[in-house]
Amino acid sequence: MATEALGWWGVPLGILAGTLRGSAPFLFVSLGECLTEKSGKINLGLEGTLLMGAMSAYGVAYLSQGALGDFWAPWLGVLAAGLAGMSLGAIHGWLAQQPRVNDVAVGIAMIIFGSGLAFFLGKPFIQPQAPQLFPFQWGAWSSIPAVQSALKVSPLFLIGVAIAPIMQWFFRSTRWGLYIRAVGDSPEAARAMGISIFKVRFLSIMAGSFLAGIGGACLSLYFPGVWTERISSGQGLMAVALVIFARWNPLQCLWASLLFGGAQALGPAFQSVGINAYYYLFNAAPYILTLLIMIITCSPKRTLVGAPGALGKED
């Protein structure tokens, strides 16, 4: 049976497929941003980190293909993406903590720097085809190709789904989780406890950027599975809004990412059943959704429930 024969069932199936394919980058960047913001700093530069991660993953997977084979090369790429993200995170973590330096402004600078570096170094990788991560074929039971392709699941997506509850547990039940929360909520108390605020924030931002870099690997090594300069459609920027929506809670980051992945799939899903007229407007759905969510959930009178106390304040 062909896709057309599915008729209108193609729309929900397309959205399901798009959610499984497209939410992984959202998931990784939002978890990374969540970890960063819990320590009391914003990293707006994850868009640059994401691009740098996507490029490093693709480049390393391509270059190591001969030595490691088609299965392991992409995984080395994933690791490279995380490390590349972490290096950018180190710049952000150090600079954003200098006196009188605004972390939002550093984030904007890091978007320019990170994307510039990614495009610069990634130029030779635009043409060649790098080996891709092998997906799990959960749709093998079905004879319908559309169902089979919809139920292909990326291993990185599953790792992300696993990280969300682990991070939840980490914040709630470990010593380091407590340190991060203390630094993010009340730096004075943390200082009194003898915690180095600089060190905790620096490490949180680096770890968060590691995750965001892997988010980039999801883009270039799985879906869409190429390296171009337009590979990211702002997932790194939306991370900040996603974390607000998720109330700085890692498990809710998971649900929010699924929602955004689904919203992103609206345009292509409707296109698959022949509705082209509003393709670009459907593509704007995640941005409009983010804006609406922020309008509904924010209030000028109080700070948001769950927001780290030191977020956005001078220290």
Binding site: V101, I108, I112, F120, T290
Partner: protein, 360 residues
């Protein structure tokens, strides 16, 4: 060496303002050095790269013209960040406001066509762009004031929404079926094209940019409105207590900022593109953020920084042709400059030479 107490005080008075000039210049020089190291690592001769950038940006009258053509939209988009920044708002919706301004100008231009004198037609386009861009950023300001929505994120999201909107319009309702190169609107009537300054290729957008920067400077530094905005930017709670209309100020300054970026869109449409399509999204908005921060949100300094960055942008092609460096080199350079300038911010008041010393 001893200086008499009275003249010593005067001497140190001179040093403090110097700090505001010295630090950005030093940051630029450090950025140049880091960029040189980067070029060396990439296999290019840094001195050759500097020379090429200088030659392509300021080396000849033709280079100057290229630079100034790029500088004019930068002056306007920079004000979109610089003006709200005086009120303590970080607005980065420049690209979106530019696109919406360009869209409004195109719609206005296609509507009036050649039915009115060209001057009036261009005036209509400019007004449409100013209003549309202004309202677009004012939306971010209103959300900030009434709903407490972070203006940085909302203005950023508005960029994506604006770009999706023009893509939708040029693919559908506004598409010119005869123009096949890429989905675009119909072309503006030739009467509405923006002219060039006598004896040059530079379009009148430069004049718009210069005038806007001067007006913005006077408005911020020399009027009650500007004083109120700067006061509120310094301490919003104190401003409320003092009875300043913080909400109105927020809306007004966001409108003004957005209208400048909108005007940049009109300039790009009327002088360069002549029709609206995706080429309008050409990073002038994001580069404008950089200009605003480097000029420390001072509209007069914006002119200078916009010319500098215009020069750097103009040299993108030559880096590729004669040094085999990708286009993105220019973006890397911008990033390095931005990071260095931000770091230099942390040095204010920390360099002993610029501090007033207690007169013994």
């Amino acid at each position: 060496m001893t200086i008499a107490p009275a003249s010593a005080a005067k001497f140190y008075q001179w040093r403090r303002p110097l700090e505001a000039v010295f630090l950005p210049v030093a940051a630029l020089l450090v950025a140049l050095v880091i960029f040189g190291v980067f070029c060396t690592l990439a296999g290019a001769n840094p001195l050759g790269v500097y020379a090429s950038i200088y030659k392509a940006a300021f080396g000849s009258w033709s280079a100057w013209q290229n630079t100034l053509i790029r500088a004019s939209p930068l002056m306007l988009t920079a004000l979109c960040t610089a003006l709200p920044a005086r009120l303590g708002l970080v607005i980065i919706g420049n690209e979106g406001a530019l696109v919406i301004g360009g869209l409004a100008a195109t719609i206005a231009g296609l509507t009036v066509g050649a039915s009115v004198p060209p001057v009036l037609g261009q005036f209509t386009m400019a007004i449409a762009a100013i209003i549309a861009g202004g309202l677009w950023i004012m939306l971010a300001g209103a959300l900030r004031h009434y709903r407490g929505v972070n203006e940085t994120i909302s203005s950023l999201l508005l960029n994506y929404i604006a770009i999706a909107l023009i893509n939708h319009l040029v693919e559908g309702p506004m598409r010119d079926a005869e123009f096949v190169t890429k989905p675009s609107s119909a072309e503006l009537n030739e009467a509405l094209w923006m002219g060039t300054l006598p004896g040059s290729r530079i379009h009148y957008g430069l004049v718009y940019g210069l005038i806007a920067c001067v007006i913005a400077y006077v408005l911020i530094q020399r009027t009650t409105f500007g004083f109120a905005a700067r006061t509120a930017g310094g301490n919003i709670r104190a401003a409320r207590v003092a009875g300043l209309p913080v909400g109105k100020l927020t809306l007004a300054i966001c409108f003004l900022g957005g209208s400048c970026a909108g005007l940049a869109g009109m300039v790009e449409v009327a002088a360069v593109q002549k029709r609206i399509n995706e080429s309008l999204v050409s990073n002038y908005g994001y580069a404008g953020i950089l200009v605003a921060f480097v000029s420390r949100h001072n509209p007069l300094a914006t002119i200078l920084v916009a010319v500098l960055l215009g020069g750097i942008l103009a040299s993108g092609g030559i880096l590729q042709r004669s040094h085999d460096l990708p286009d993105a080199t220019v973006l890397v350079f911008q990033g390095i400059v931005f990071l260095c300038v931000l770091f230099s911010d942390s040095l204010y008041g920390r360099l002993p030479w610029f501090q007033e010393k207690p007169v013994a």
